[in-house]
Amino acid sequence: MMLLQTMNIDIVDISDNLVGKFLNNRVRIAVILMLFACCFIVARLYYLQILKGGKYVELSTNNRIRVTTIAAPRGFVFSQKKEVLASNNPSFDLNLIPQDTPDVDGVLEKISTLLGLDKQSLKKRVAGQRGRPPFEPVTLKKELPWEEMSLVLTNKMDLHGISIDVQPKRYYSQGFFATHAFGFLGEIDRNELAKYPQGIYRQGDLIGKFGLEKWGEQYLRGQKGGVQTEVDAYGNRQKVLAEIDPTVGCNMVVTLDVRVQRVVEEQLKDKVGAVVAMNPATGEILALASSPAFNANLFARGIDYAEWNKLTTDPLHPLLNRAIQTQQPPGSVFKIITAIAALEEKVIDPSERIFCPGYYNLGNTTFRCWKKGGHGSVNMHEAIVRSCDTYFYTVGQRLGVDRIHKYATMFGLGEKTGIELEGEKSGLIPSEAWKKKKYGVVWQKGETTSIAVGQGYIQTTPLQIATFFCGVANGSFIPRPRLVHEVDCDINNEKVFFQTEKRDLPVSPKTIAFIKEALMGVVHDPTGTATKVRIDGLTIGGKTGTAQVVSRRFVASKEEDIPWQYKDHAWFVCMAPVEKPEIVVSVFLEHGGHGGSAAGPVARAVVAAYLKPPLQKTPEPSSHAAPDDETEED
């Protein structure tokens, strides 16, 4: 290799030789490269600062500004007499702020030994919060008792990032009171989070899951407050930028009457069923209960898994609101619809007598009246009072199913009543078109016979029966049943009143008067099926009903021998006083047996509690009682 070392390199003019030209060329390329790189940097800066600038400004704001939310106390629930039904109690939560905790593991270790909590589950809780901003607190334990709270506070120095925060906790001051009406709160789920506009709820918030808590969520929840603080990278608060106090949720006044509700619940104790008591003129629900019930206080801060499991696996389904979710044939209660239809359609004169030999023949089929020996010759009044099946089989045949359907629908059966509670069932009123559509078969005449006495396809809820009776009580309209009387918002002194919503009933007053008379007979006539309901000095009009669980043909006829689950469902619905009805009570007892004897006394107690306080412990009106066989209908 021939090196140029021999030359005096000090004076080599590089532009004179090839190596120098090469170098100069490369230097030129390097400058172009640099220019290109600088342009590239500027382009990137333009992209970050101008094109994406807004996003980064937001990110930097989020970085330094930390918003701590202050939960808004949920609105109270009052009765119209200003009794507190649901309120809030303070509850203390143990929280960890991941961003302020340099050594999460160590802190969790200390907490677990201090409070005897499982470290793994604590870790899981913290890990489960990944993806949320690290400054948002993770709740380690809810409802910290006093002694644990003091333990944590005395060791606060070692527990970086741990804080105890006060949270309002829902408290149902009356215990089990109307749990199915109030519903309960639960931790918000993903779907609910997505449903509401951002900012209203946050993961971990409680939201009304059921009942009035759900219906009134928008009123009750109030508005969260918050403190906006500027923090440095270490989470140290530099200054408070803004503070917004939480707005207490609006209070709700419900129509429930505490006294009536209490009696209802007392009556339902150890029974399975539902009771609805309404003011027929306004549609206000005075009492609504379903049994068995559950303790809504369990849900107050989010129910734990074991408790929830216990509730959901209970064979009696305590979470089911039987008042609006049970769908059963109304039995003889439905005869009132058939009677009204017959009178309005003039298919029979009320004085026309029909002979009941104890059965009714249609073609080759024999339909039995519940009374084996038959009722003899009965007119409509007697047929209602004594609940004669044969009479209504005959009338039903004259009417045809579609005309029965028309009147049943007119009285609100077969459709939701529109109460504020979610999950209401609509029941079912069959018609010829319905059967064709559902089963693809034509309607059989014999089926009308069953429908006329409230058996067969027909299904109703206790609440529907109550509203239907409100219609009978009013004569001219059916009110929408409602639980909420008004919503009061303290902040703007705004009050939302809920008006009675009426639906007109195109039924002649004559028909109504006749029916009311007959209903009174059911209770007050010695031959009536509900004489046990009588209260001295009150006129009560009611109707018993029995929903067959198993066809009587296959089961031992002796009442006591029938196993509970094969016993019939008992219905009783009544109004009082008949002249100017103030209350309508609908009672449904699952496997209760006969309407008159099982459901009747429950209704009687409710009526007495509302109209004749305090309840007189009068002896059973046995003097008026007809023989057992007479008062028990099938």
Binding site: L23, N24, T61, N63, D232
Partner: protein, 363 residues
């Protein structure tokens, strides 16, 4: 000794560009210091470093660069010795041994060795000129030089400087004429060995590369710097948040804000406009440096001027790309702008030699 001609060739444009960069750097440090009351104002120290650096620069421009470069091997040997010394008696900061305690001051010889490495390579190439392209056997000596320089720094560990050392070497390969037949297989070999480098890397270094590819991988730890830096730069907008108004830096969300991430602080507070000014000044600086190389009639000067300009450019490019999310976070500072005594002094020494070349351009 004093020559009018020397003054007339002094590259004032370059010098003032660099001085302006220094001034902006100090201004930037003022902004950061406001939030750290407990630490003695950093910009005071930086000013003194710059003054010390200028003092060295003043001495150096009076010395003929040819002399300096001719002693290149010796200078490099001394720097290498200091680097090795650091390994044994150095101070440990942030997990790596880079500092040499000199009374109250601490010296970072790895900053100095970048300059001496260029001196040594310039000497070698200027003295081993060849009319035909270099073959691999001609480059054995520089390669050995690279290895003995690279390893002690790598062991410290100082990934940034070690990388810069390699890049300096490669920049020489760009400026010299190498045999293409030999160069491409060599380049191929280097590229092929890159995946092997992965296994040599320490865990935290791997982590840095991984989070560079996906910062959200570990947003609270390894990815934190990158994310916060991008937020700082991006939130600057066109005119920035204003002096001392940068929330990312003032509230200390930005890590390493006086060294590696000074540019993020600057861009948050001065926005695109301020950034363009800085980038423009740097470009003037590089361009003038390259121009000195182009005009220099001497291989010593020409090689050194080209390589040191390119070296400053690489530092600049890597540092800025790091802050704007285009390069993994490696400890490379922004020359003249970042805080750092050793960095400022060694950069001033390098600048001194560059200016010395400019003054004696006609020789």
């Amino acid at each position: 000794m004093f020559d009018r001609k020397l003054i007339s060739h002094f590259d004032f444009t370059l010098f003032f560009a660099v001085m302006l960069i220094c001034a902006l750097g100090i201004l930037n440090l003022c902004s950061i210091c406001s939030s750290e009351e407990n630490i003695a104002p950093l910009y005071y120290k930086q000013i003194s470093w710059i003054l010390i650096g200028l003092f060295f620069l003043l001495i150096i421009i009076n010395i003929n660069y040819v002399t300096i470069i001719r002693y290149g091997y010796y200078f490099h040997a001394v720097a290498l010795f200091l680097v090795l010394l650091v390994l044994f008696i150095g101070k440990t900061k942030l997990g790596s041994q880079r500092w040499l305690a000199l009374g109250p001051l601490s010296l970072q010889p790895s900053e100095l060795i970048k300059i001496t490495f260029m001196l040594a390579l310039s000497k070698f190439f200027a003295e081993n000129l060849s009319h035909r392209p270099y073959n691999l056997q001609d480059l054995v000596a520089p390669l050995l030089l690279l290895l003995i320089t690279f390893f002690p720094i790598y062991v410290q560990p100082d990934l940034g400087t070690a990388g810069i050392i390699c890049l300096i070497f490669f920049s020489y390969l760009f400026f010299i004429n190498i045999n293409k037949k030999m160069f491409y297989p060599f380049l191929g070999l280097c590229l092929a060995s890159l995946p092997c480098v992965w296994f040599v890397l320490k865990d935290y270094q791997k982590q840095r590369i991984l989070v560079f590819l996906d910062p959200d991988l570990d947003p609270l730890h390894a990815g934190y710097q990158l994310i916060q830096s991008k937020i700082a730069v991006g939130s600057g907008g066109f005119f920035g948040k204003g002096f001392k108004m940068g929330t990312q830096s003032q509230l200390r969300f930005l890590p390493e804000q006086h060294t590696d991430f000074v540019f993020s602080v600057w861009s948050e507070e001065w926005g695109l406009a301020g950034c363009c000014l800085v980038v423009f000044l740097y470009f003037i600086f590089f361009y003038r440096g390259m121009r000195i190389s182009y005009n220099c009639k001497n291989f010593y000067g020409s090689y050194f001027a080209a390589s040191i300009s390119f070296f400053f450019f690489m530092q600049f490019l890597i540092n800025i790309c790091m802050t704007i999310g285009l390069f993994p976070v490696v400890g490379v500072t922004l020359p003249f702008f970042s805080y750092g005594g050793s960095s400022v002094i060694s950069c001033m020494v390098g600048l001194g030699i560059l200016l010395s070349i400019s003054m004696r351009i006609s020789k």
